[in-house]
Subunit: 247 residues, 2 copies
Amino acid sequence: MPTAAIVIIGDEILSGKFVEENAAFLIGELRALGVDLKRITVIPDDRDDIAATVREQAAKFDHVFTSGGVGPTHDDVTMEAIALAFGTTVIREPVLEQRVRAYWGDRLAEPNLRLADVPAGAELVYGKDQVWPVVAYRNVYILPGVPTLFRRKFVDIRDRFRTETVTIARVYIDADEGQIAKDLDNVVAAHPSVKIGSYPRFAEKDFRVLVTLEGRDTAEVAAAFALLVERAGTKVVRSEAPASVGQ
Amino acid sequence: MPTAAIVIIGDEILSGKFVEENAAFLIGELRALGVDLKRITVIPDDRDDIAATVREQAAKFDHVFTSGGVGPTHDDVTMEAIALAFGTTVIREPVLEQRVRAYWGDRLAEPNLRLADVPAGAELVYGKDQVWPVVAYRNVYILPGVPTLFRRKFVDIRDRFRTETVTIARVYIDADEGQIAKDLDNVVAAHPSVKIGSYPRFAEKDFRVLVTLEGRDTAEVAAAFALLVERAGTKVVRSEAPASVGQ
């Protein structure tokens, strides 16, 4: 299963001016595509911090998605930072420059041309939208921070990340988490390929712990689910049988 | 201004089973307290990853807040990971053990006692709640992932992080971001202590860019605000004059 990391570049998120929307959106997309999201990092609009973070994540994971810091103003330093991360420089990309000039026409202000600046060696990734590509450098996809644009651009190229489906089951248990810890240990030991999560809830009426079972091997998830339901016995309030997520 | 980082430990967030609530809550709290949040990281329930991440953040920032991985089940590895991060071991803390035994009484299951396990040398931080302290190791505050508990425990001890207020102003501009980039550059150059953010919006009726101006020095923020309003002229749709945030 390919892995991914999200890097959110945004003083405006860290200072609470805007609620984070892009990672929240991408979490669901990546899950549906069968990509294993391993890390989300929210960092300031700081060139060196962006460079260090992107370099580290690009080396560890298959895909990296950045959000923000792409635009015509002083705080838009992502392109420069990613160039720095990979030891290259920023160039004005001719195809993009043409698009920018065509789009703004007479209304073009010089800073708009910064939208055509990319790290030298970047790839222009086209999806269904043949006009505005996504800029990628190696395994780093550089997306804008404005949520409507972020979504549109990711959806446009998402098919290239699609892999396989995962199977998930849920068991709702009316017991203290400590009372089922041993049962969970047994299920974990018997089915190591199944990822088991245990989540205590205090505001629910009829259950106190939600247990999730998740994996790529449907038969294994089903066996783990059956074992847990058997062991937890009457403490099980209800359950959702193994079902595929993704498409 | 003291700095902070948030480390969210949670497979359940990365896989989209639950929406992240704790960082979202803490962003607003830290801002109101006058603490400069520099980084949010969401990572899996993995001992080595938690240890490496916490060690790195604790060295860089004044305060680190962790969320999750604290409880009686197999996936609760935060205490062990933080002990590992600082080269110590996990011990059963006598005061906490007494609390756990008193709370559960006859219903105590052995795994519940794991709630009394902390890194050796940890501090028990008491707020108004004299029964359940927050466990801290050096500058790392170890909070539970369940949102109701996370909030309650942070609110209980938040006064120890309170510092000063910041001043913020906002200018709503009806122009393309490229058209005001030069004006912003001028304001940035004239008032380097003021943090200026420029945020294009496409779904608003009457403006296209929101500019925020923020700093600790109220007079500087006011001067930067006045300069921007003057330079942007008739492009300014409305504005919010400098006002204090925090208490």
